[in-house]
């Protein structure tokens, strides 16, 4: 028995509109793709060459050599720090893959950018990554080499930086294994990474760990000592005991990791896929044409579902009530999911319907997928008098206290309190992935500029200032500038650069990415909430 019945698509994939929209979407994706292409050699060719000259592999080459052949690898937040002063990707690689048949989390520093030294975004990205590791209970592999903190930027780093070591020990306490391979220096704070890991592997003549390097030791206690004696792989393997496995070379280090994963005898705690995982009736490649490149143009969320869900099967909940919120059940790669998606803004009916649906899924331990295309809650006297705040509060109560895993797929806009109602970033979803057309802000740029314009005009009126031609031009210029600024600050790239999501993906990959995220979440227990806050009736 399967869940639901097959959705029928009404998308005309032969129309000019469709093709024009696909072209616009592809253009948005091309921009993302060109940014992604910069990441592996973000440190610059000179430093890449130097790294290789030392006989070392780049971090992504290590990942390729580590994961199971032909298995998929999902890199998380690859464009973190985009649009900031930090390097795109933040000088570290994070992702989810398969090693020895086990779904694991892998991270590694990019030694080619400032010697793998951490910048503020590195810590933020790492913190988010550890959150994913902990919440989803994924065995952790750290491919480490780092000069430690980027010292000139210590003010932005030092205080929060200690979190990663706390994260590591807490993982250990929770029974989530951590394996660190020291491929190069692990200096100062970096030395705690192996120190706090369950297992450590040091690569001979490469991996080192010391709290203070030879220069600092000379400064502090006037001892002159070489690196190997101070903190070399062999010393740590034979004398200090910091290293559990001494690897002959980089590949051997990765081999040790695989051997350790084998002895974990790792079992996922969540249920396995229970539904048939047949492909959708409609090609997921068409997802790119389901959403609109211009988020101001509405689109039908069921067209997205028809290309995300197994067999395009969907059992809709309350189809004729609060129809701007499309709720119902289906499955993705065999994992049962509750779907919530927007076909317009939130009214009281949409909010209460979604709140009920979320409670039902919690009772049944069914994970939730939120497909955002939301410009906000309805405003105006009718909405207010109808209790939009009271009913919106129910939705916020539901998403805040829901305990099943949440997955956000940003297929369009996510503005204002609508983002909160759809369990946005602040509501701690397990994973958030965005399509390249995604826009996110407190409200649409035009609305925001318009609101500010009205406020400015009202202020002028309040002070009794008459708006002459010159001032009118100035106000219009201000409004246009503000709209442009907000436009820039609400793009998918801007959002992903600030770690508001876990990555921008090609829409056609949504089923694969969501499948991997949902599967990873099932490494932990999947159990619904039993308690909520007070419901405002």
């Amino acid at each position: 028995m399967t869940i639901g019945t097959a959705l029928r698509s009404r998308l005309d994939t032969r129309s000019d509109d469709y093709h024009a929209n696909v072209a616009a979407m592809e253009e948005l994706w091309a921009e993302v793709e060109s940014e992604l292409a910069k990441v592996p050699s973000i440190g610059g060719q000179r430093y890449v060459d130097r790294h290789r000259r030392r006989g070392k592999m780049l971090v992504r080459e290590r990942v390729e050599a580590l994961v199971d052949p032909h298995s998929p690898f999902l890199e998380l937040s690859p464009l973190a720090a985009w649009g900031t002063q930090d390097p795109i990707g933040a000088g570290m690689m994070c992702g989810i893959g398969v090693v020895e048949g086990v779904e694991v989390a892998i991270t590694g520093s990019d030694m080619t950018y400032r010697g793998g030294a951490a910048n503020p975004t590195t810590w933020a990205k790492g913190h988010r990554f550890y959150e994913i590791v902990r919440e989803n209970r994924l065995p952790l592999i750290v491919l480490n080499e780092s000069a430690g903190a980027d010292l000139p930027r210590q003010a932005d780093l030092f205080i929060r930086g200690g979190q990663s070591f706390r994260d590591l020990t807490q993982l250990s306490k929770l029974g989530v294994p951590s394996i660190t391979v020291a491929f190069g220096p692990n200096t100062a704070g970096g030395a705690y990474t192996p120190g706090m890991s369950d297992y450590t592997v040091f690569v001979r003549e490469r991996g080192t760990a010391y709290l203070g390097g030879p220069p600092l030791v000379k400064m502090a206690i006037d001892e002159i000592v070489d690196e190997e004696t101070l903190g070399g792989a062999e010393m740590h393997s034979t004398t200090s005991g910091l290293s559990d496995y001494l690897a002959e070379d980089e590949m051997d280090g990765l081999r040790h990791v695989r051997a350790i994963i084998r002895h974990l005898r790792w079992n996922k705690l969540g249920p396995g896929p229970s539904e048939p995982n047949d492909p959708p009736l409609y090609d997921p490649a068409e997802l790119i044409g389901c959403a609109q490149a211009d988020v101001r143009i509405p689109f039908e969320m069921r067209e997205v579902y028809a290309r995300l869900l197994d067999g395009s099967r969907f059992e809709e909940f309350k189809a004729r009530y609060g129809d701007k919120m499309v709720c119902g059940w289906g499955s993705i790669h065999g994992f049962p999911v509750g779907m919530l998606g927007n076909n317009g803004i939130l009214f009281s009916e949409e909010a209460t319907k979604a709140a009920q649906f979320i409670q039902l899924c919690n009772k049944r331990d069914i994970p939730l997928v939120f497909c955002h295309n939301i410009t906000g809650f309805m405003v105006g006297s009718k909405a207010e008098q109808g209790g939009i705040i009271r009913n919106g509060a129910k939705l916020i109560n539901a998403v805040s206290n829901s305990a099943v895993p949440h997955f956000n797929l940003m297929v369009g806009a996510s503005y204002g309190a609508g983002n909160y109602g759809m369990a946005g970033k602040a509501y701690n979803p397990r994973f958030i992935f965005s399509w390249p057309n995604h826009r996110i802000a407190v409200m649409g740029p035009k609305q925001l500029a318009g609101v500010m314009d009205i406020i400015a005009r009202n202020a002028a009126a309040g002070r009794g200032i008459e708006i002459d031609d010159e001032m009118e031009a100035q106000l219009q210029e201000q409004a246009a500038a503000l709209e442009g600024q907000i436009e820039t600050e609400s793009t998918a790239l801007f959002s992903t650069g600030r770690l508001w999501d876990d990555g921008i993906i090609h829409p056609a990959d949504s089923r694969t990415v969501l499948g991997m995220a949902i599967s990873a979440a099932h490494s932990n227990v999947v159990a619904g909430a039993t308690e909520y806050g007070v419901w405002r009736h």
Binding site: V48, R52, E64, P78, V98, A259, D509
Partner: protein, 725 residues
Amino acid sequence: MSEITTLLIANRGEIAVRIARTARRLGISTVGVYSEPDVNALHVDSVDVAVAVGGSTPAESYLRGEAIIAAALANGADAIHPGYGFLSENAGFARDVEAAGLVWVGPTPEQIELLGDKVAAKRAAIDAGVPTAPMLEIDGSHFDGALPADMPLPVLVKAAAGGGGRGMRVVRSVDDVGDAVSAASREAKSAFGDGTVFIEPYLERGRHVEVQVIGDAHGNVVHLGERECSIQRRNQKIVEESPSAGISEHTRDALCAGALALAERVGYRGAGTIEFLVGTAADGSDGTINFLEVNTRLQVEHPVTEAVTGLDLVELQLGVAAGERLPIAQSDVQFSGHAIEVRVVAEDPAAGWLPSTGTVGQFFIGDAETGSGRGDGVRVDTGFRDGAIVSPDYDSLLAKVISHAGTRRAAALTLARSMRGSQITGLRTNLDSLAEILVEPDYLAAATPTAYLDEHPHVVAAHGPSGADEVALLVAAALADEGWQRRSSGSFGFAPTGWRNLRTTGQRQVWASARGLERHIEFHVRNDSEQASREGSAIVDVDVAVGPWPMPLDDGTLSDDERERVAVRILEREISDTAARLAIEVDGRRLRVDADRVDAPTDDIDVVVGGQVGGQTIHVRSAVGAMSWTLMPRFESHHGDGDGGGPVCPLPGTVIAVHVAAGDRVADGDVLMVVEAMKMEHKITASGESVVTEVRFAVGDRVDTGDLLVALEHDGSNQVEDESA
């Protein structure tokens, strides 16, 4: 007349299977015999009952005449067919068989004795008017006279007994004749117990042509035409055909008439072969004919005669042995078309035809007859099947494959196609050489002297598919393997193969072929939709680069990418547990490929780990040829304790070379030892600068998975590189 109702087959291998086939068709019950290594051989399964006759060597088993006769009597057999080899030309055994009241399927003991002595046989041949060069009989083992006028140099000194090239000497100077006689006599004495030798002219660039005869006990003899068996290695035939395409009608008639005359003269009973060497005259026409010997038994290559005459020689043998009259007269014998037989042997042609023994993995002969009766395939006579053991105690013959067509060219090309589509794994075979011979221009032009293989070293060294074919088979192996690995993967198994959201490289693999090639391949499956991976029905595009990927140079930059790019489409892929069928298109050329996988010998060592499947061997075969590819492990094995140690053995095998000694200083990548395993040479290398403390195995030693081969101590003098940024 003595009816045969139960036949004991005193042989093994393909000939025992072949004799049993005819017996079964005639309703004759069969009794087989087997040695200990053969307890489960195909020939034992081909007979109704079989009797154990002893140990592993021929002397302990198939040569034990008494035990065989006892087995026949105990199991109600009324006749014994000796096949070829073993006891087939042993007159004493034939006599014992008859004395035991059993029918001997063969010539009379007297005929075997007479014709088995090459000197006596040649005398008889000369007396019967058989065309032949003269011979000079040697009295004793010394010769110090001059060669007679009709015996020009070079000459051949030959033993009267035995065969197979032993006791033979070619002499090119009159001064050497005496020594050659002494040596040949000595060798013949020790090998056959008879030191009698004789001298005859040595025909260079001759052809080996033989005539099949069969006679009954009533004085009727017919010849069944000739066979040419010139292509030989170490005086052993490897390609045989009928008729001979290299002799004139006149020569053919002379040979057949001569053979018949000799058979008639001795009243020959049963099947026999009169062998000749036909020299080449200065103008290229047939030259001197020399009678060689008579084989008083069924020949290995009899199927080509059966093909062109439509007769079943074993059926005729059984009839005349039972005392029946030959059912055919000479005028009834009609010849149709051309037949060629090749002998597939467990030998490595490129290594001087070194015998190869072991366990057969896959045993597959391409285009084998389907049994439709339309002759739409090749005939395969074999005693082997999947999993059979090829023992050093027996002949290296794995199979005879016979084609029959209207023309010699068609027969050759049909057989070549069969050879290309054949695959026998676990051993070295001559399949590739045979495929090459059958399409080689001199062969197709029938320019085939006995020196053919010496004069065509490239066919001997043939190693199967090359160029685009080799690439296609490599790609097929890699994609079959990819299908198997993804099929067995439970984690994120739904994702497209090798999926990345940030791709830096494709899947990189190193494969080694059974003939020692090493190929790097990098591929990226572009549109592995769920549909494709689940149902195997959709077309999948694969970008493939063949050749070593860019590697860092000394200055850290990558070497130039000079790889061959190949556009591949998987058009169809059906995968079961151990076999796969693929239709792949490589640069626009579609090829159907069958693939079989062999599970790695163990999954419990570092180099062969779960999900990793290093050491996995994939056998691929197609109409363009067959190859075996082994996926090289990604990870080198290091000694388990992680400190010093040294390389451990990746697979069970034998040490075939040791390149270092204790105390040697070695550098990263230096070859320390070579281990042959799975018929491949594995180089055992050093990782990092180190000093050899102990070489733990010597050449010839058996080594097992995980054995520490060479103990190394790391050289501590290395400088730790400065890593500061």
